[in-house]
Symmetry: C2
């Protein structure tokens, strides 16, 4: 086989829904020598990584691991372990990832009751309470904390309370919130929460952090049926991440180095500082975008600090916007998914990518690209708005 071309990996500014910018410290960690998955030095790195994951999840949960797959494998881990064939479950859908959770749960043999909200709105806790009341035999309530497809932040307090009062388990998708805002695992007693590495944790994609509370662990240990996925079976994986070091599968060793370094960066910054930085920068972006003249999909109260959805203005070709941003500025942003395809653009400010330089650069570039299409973007006004917020 002839191979002449070198691999072409240019630097691009990742301001989409993920992957997000990865610091060179994390990239270097990926290239440290591969160790055996039962090597004592590697096991020490795993232990530290688990402690760091507990810190970002703000939990004391013993069962806290990084699953060997991407964020979607985290969703599947939650469903296959928490659901048995024939179980009734309530799943909230207010975007693509809630809808995906329905699909995953159905493949686990669940009877699914859905509670929906329009795209761009959060789920109404009253609707969940009603579904719980109408389905007292349901076992699990699944909900997305940070809907990556819409940019909606879902308040969880009332839903977690109602779920627990009914004796059910709450299962939470924190893919786009973990590391960028509070994920109140212990405060609300969330039973199973999963995330991905490539969002606010600012690590390349490839691992799915998962944490499970004591009630969830009890439920998993008392299952009548085996977990339908061998690969994601927490009853075995917890024995590898625990003291027993039971061999299950060969861990993705170098990815764990990367996650370890990314989590150290978070610990150095301090989790609360990081949440505040994400919030402050997101507000600056929102002010800038509104001054630029575009509308945001989500009401301010429910906006994610990590991901902002811009309504594509009338007459603007969103695919051309993304193409121009990439070809002229090497900036990647995201398109709409599902029902919102063609209707929104998604801008992520996650991890180290959430900073003033990126906001200014993006607004100037976005404004220019919009002007090319005849939209009268007020770039000066946008940049002034950012200065007002961040100076």
């Amino acid at each position: 086989m002839k191979l002449e071309k070198p691999r072409n990996v240019p630097e691009k500014l990742l301001l989409g829904p993920g992957p997000t910018p990865v610091e060179s410290r994390v990239l270097r960690a990926l290239s440290e020598p591969t160790l055996g998955h039962l090597d004592k030095n590697f096991v020490a790195i795993m232990d530290e990584t688990r402690d760091l994951l507990r810190y970002v999840f703000q939990t004391k949960n013993e069962l806290t691991v990084a699953m060997s797959g991407t964020g979607s494998a985290g969703m599947e881990t939650a469903c296959v372990n928490m659901i048995e064939r024939g179980d009734k479950v309530i799943i909230c859908t207010h975007g693509v990832f809630g809808t995906r959770m329905v699909d995953v749960a159905e493949r686990c043999g669940a009877e699914v009751v859905t509670v929906s909200a329009p795209m761009g709105k959060p789920i109404d806790p009253e609707d969940v309470a009603k579904a719980i009341k109408n389905n007292p035999d349901a076992k699990v309530v699944g909900i997305v904390h940070a809907e990556t497809s819409t940019g909606v932040l879902q308040p969880l307090d009332d839903i977690a309370k109602a779920t627990h009062e009914a004796g059910m388990f709450v299962l939470v998708d924190a893919v786009t919130s973990l590391g960028g805002m509070e994920v109140p695992v212990d405060r609300l007693g969330l039973d199973m929460v999963y995330s991905g590495t490539q969002k606010c944790l600012a690590c390349p994609p490839g691992l799915a952090p998962v944490t499970a509370g004591p009630r969830a662990v009890e439920r998993i240990k008392n299952r009548k049926q085996k977990v339908q996925s061998w690969y994601l079976d927490l009853t075995m994986i917890m024995r590898y991440w625990g003291q027993e070091r039971f061999y299950h599968h060969t861990a993705p060793v170098n990815m764990v180095y990367g996650l370890n370094e990314a989590l150290k960066i978070i610990a150095e910054e301090g989790l609360e500082n990081r949440w505040q930085r994400h919030r402050r920068n997101a507000e600056a972006l929102w002010d800038g975008l509104e001054a630029l003249g575009v509308k945001l999909l989500v009401d301010k109260e429910y906006r994610l600090p990590s991901l902002t959805s811009i309504v594509v203005p009338e007459g603007v070709d969103e695919a051309a916007v993304r193409k121009d941003l990439m070809s002229e500025y090497a900036i990647e942003i995201g398109s709409g998914l599902g029902e919102l395809k063609g209707k929104i653009l998604r801008v992520g400010l996650m991890g180290s990518g959430s900073n003033k330089e990126n906001i200014v650069f993006f607004l100037a570039a976005f404004g220019n690209v919009l002007r090319k299409q005849g939209f009268a973007a007020d770039i000066g006004g946008a940049l002034e708005a950012v200065e007002r917020k961040l100076s």
Copy 2:
């Protein structure tokens, strides 16, 4: 959170069942800048990686991908896609990984008929033929090509022929063979074959190469039930790896860079040259071990070139052998798994790790460690045997 210790990742010589030594070119590739999973530069790398995977699999199969998980996720991919609930399947067990395949298949709702051989022996094709004859309603025959737990190389020709004559599909685990010896995908029309990156492909663990022939693709497309795993559903994954670039999940971008580089190293060496190198070095190791005075578990005809199983001599403490090799020489080898726990030691010569220096270093170190335990290892004789074979 206080973090004072640096991450401790020493260089070790990985001569176990995997992960195996990774060249610095591959480690450097892992640390290239993260791109978006739909970025045109990344998509070009995926396309090239797919072509390179077809080369190592020796196949023209359109459906050839790297699944976003480790080798065990490859096994699960094969089972969840090829099996529907209620299907009868025949699975051959001559080690831990065949036994694991039974477990995975049962979790897919299969009725499993097993065909077994003692640990250290290959499956008798006659036994498979009988099982096929007695179970004409079976859909799939699953078998491990290279049993990583025993070091047995399983001849596939007769079994593939009998399976196809009965109109069934053959599903092959090539985790420890791919890249180290011929995996005759097209020559035998193997319907679905999976592997892992951390064996003879000499890449860190984290991806599972999978290839499926046209008959398997047809079967998957005509399934009556959805694939029970959303994450591993090839009906969707093939649309991401194909021209459509349908978004499924965020690919583990940096791991794909690493696999791309590891496969380029293979293409540069030439696949046939690589097979011959693995074979020649394995024979030198076998001669050296026999001259040293230890016995091998597997008859020469059925030994894997990539993995050699040594019978632990009477009176030798195998755990102490492994511990001393690690602490005194920084060499990692593997212990026995399952029934063979405590009874064998497993030595891998895979990828760039399969070379004369490693054989000489290992034999000298192993001989010294055995002598510490009172075993009269003939180190001089072992090294002479290696010289005779490799000079």
